[in-house]
């Protein structure tokens, strides 16, 4: 009995905290990249919600800041590699917007590690999984966002 109890306690202690991450992905590359990861059955951590947009150029600071305001622990912005944009230069706009977002996030006092920009093509399923794993671990290391609301399920 005692042994079981200690075992349970130990289990509780080592239970990992899992972040809530928002991933913005463009329709043509990154979202398809995630699909590739899925179809190829590449395992990765599942603690993110994906929001698909037609182009990464659409992802303006307002989107990212809203995610943080509502308590996201991390935000990943992703799009086609530079030069590969379906709309020719949308990801260049995304880069400009991301710079602004980064500056705002720094001013607001959130850790810079909670925000990341990655270019992931439709073929890079393995890379998608790797980026998600890395980013999830990085945010987990930082702990819950100071703005997190606490009403999370896991």
């Amino acid at each position: 009995m005692t042994a079981v109890k200690t075992k349970r306690k130990a289990k509780k202690k080592t239970k990992q905290w899992n972040p809530n991450i928002v991933v913005f992905a463009c329709n043509w590359c990154s979202y398809a990249g995630a699909d590739t990861a899925g179809v190829s059955r590449i395992q990765h951590q599942p603690h993110f919600r994906m929001i698909r947009v037609m182009c990464s150029g659409r992802i303006q600071p307002g989107f990212v800041l809203k995610a943080f305001e509502k308590g996201a622990d991390g935000v990943l912005v992703s799009g086609c590699h530079i030069g590969d944009c379906h709309y020719i230069f949308g990801n260049e706009r995304a880069l400009e917007q991301f710079e602004k977002t980064k500056n705002m996030v720094r001013l607001l006092g959130l850790e810079e590690g909670r925000l990341r920009l990655e270019w992931i093509s439709a073929a890079e399923g393995a890379r998608f999984a790797q980026v998600i794993n890395e980013f999830t671990d990085q945010v987990r290391e930082l702990g819950p966002s100071p703005l997190a609301t606490g009403n999370r399920k896991h």
């Binding site: 303006q60 600071p61 307002g62 943080f68 305001e69 001013l107 607001l108 006092g109």
Partner: protein, 386 residues
């Protein structure tokens, strides 16, 4: 969320003296939005409030079209306080879940709400240069920076540096022998949230900011931004526990201390002055900025045809209305400024600068409306004798 009780229409009508309205329509005739072709009729809104037609007001898109510039109230022969009316009506709308369509994807509103939550340590003083002397906690005079550092980070494409005005104000205060308190814990004043109808988050910000200034022991609070000043002078009053400090705009403060400042005469400049709606019509501060410019030996002020009480707003006061009517108003105003032959358009509010800079980006009108802008504090700091 959204639990702050809202007033009934009859109470709002009474507070804003809407009962006095006799339907003359001067408000609508003078409204800059209506003149530019927008579907805003202050007269109809006053009427609907008096008649208690809640649905007509709250679900009407024109509720958030108002610039809250106060020109209608300035013209109203019976003194209906339209600003108070619209403020309370928007609170009802917010309570019902209706929010304005925020430009910039609501980024600035998110920023304000994050500050209202206030669980992070902001990095808001990284612009302080070594020559600026400031205290961080306690002192006689508190200098309220406003959110200029955020605007500079958010609008790099306009190449305006709102922070220049902030730094200049501190430079002028230093020259007067004052080391102001500039706090890293300052938060947004909540002006925009209040005027968007979000009273709840406004109150969180108000309580924090009032506490911060009270804890600093400052007797005087000097503010650069016209919107922050309005909020401090009028909307923060119920939140003070003790007696509030003396709250002044930087131009009021400089105007009082003109004798202690020595100016050098540079090359002569002709400038024109944009009265920010918050500073002018809301608070009646028309003369101090002009007194300051008068005292500068190298500045020659020419007024625009619409100045002082008749001044035209920069058409974007609360980050909640930006449309073609706003653009129309801005372009007209810039043409007016340009027609004076002035070299600079001087403002006393960072937001006026941002909105005009945005209008100037128009590739078709570029040369027609382009005029360099200066913050009034920068103008003073540049003319200080060594």
């Amino acid at each position: 969320m959204k639990t702050t009780p809202t007033l009934e229409l009859a109470e709002i009508a009474e507070k804003a003296k809407a009962w006095a309205c006799y339907d003359c329509g001067k408000c609508t005739a003078t409204c800059p939005i209506a003149r530019a072709g927008g579907a805003l009729s202050p007269r109809r809104q006053v009427l609907a409030t008096n008649l208690g037609h809640r649905e007509n007001i709250v679900n009407n898109s024109s509720l958030f079209a108002c610039l809250t510039c106060g020109l209608c109230s300035a013209r109203c022969p019976v003194g209906v306080v339209y600003g108070k009316l619209i403020l309370n009506l928007r609170q009802i709308a917010y309570h019902d879940g209706i929010e304005p369509e925020c430009p910039h994807g609501g980024a600035l509103q998110s920023m304000m709400r994050m500050m209202a939550k206030g669980k992070t340590k902001q990095d808001r003083l990284n612009w302080l240069t070594g020559d600026l002397k400031v205290h961080q906690k306690k002192g006689e005079l508190f200098y309220w920076t406003g959110c200029t550092m955020y605007y500079d980070a958010f609008f790099p494409e306009f190449q305006i540096t709102a922070l220049d005005g902030t730094r200049s104000a501190i430079r002028v205060l230093n020259r007067l022998g004052i080391t102001p308190v500039v706090s890293p814990d300052e938060r947004c004043c909540g002006h925009d949230l209040l005027w968007n109808g979000d009273r709840e988050n406004f109150e969180l910000l108000a309580k924090h900011n009032v506490k911060l200034v009270e804890a600093s022991g400052a007797q005087t609070l000097v503010v650069s931004c016209a919107e922050c000043l309005r909020t401090w002078k009028l909307d923060y009053q119920p939140f003070f526990e003790g007696s509030p400090p003396k709250i002044m705009h930087i131009t009021e403060f400089v105007a009082e201390h003109l004798d202690d400042l020595k100016f050098k005469a540079n090359e002569e400049h002709t400038v024109t002055y944009q009265d920010p709606c918050r500073l002018g019509r809301h608070l009646g501060i028309f003369d101090p900025p002009r007194a300051v410019m008068d005292a500068l030996p190298d500045v020659n002020l020419v007024e625009m045809p619409h100045s002082r009480k008749n001044s035209i707003c920069c058409a974007g006061s609360t980050w909640s209305n930006c449309d073609r009517y706003a653009k129309h108003i801005q372009v007209d105003r810039l043409r007016e400024a340009k027609a004076t032959g002035a070299e600079f358009l001087v403002t006393a509010c960072p937001k006026c600068q941002i909105h005009f800079a945005c209008a100037m980006k128009d590739p078709n009108l570029h040369e027609e409306i382009e005029i360099p802008m200066r913050d009034i504090a920068t103008l003073v700091a540049e003319t200080l004798a060594d």
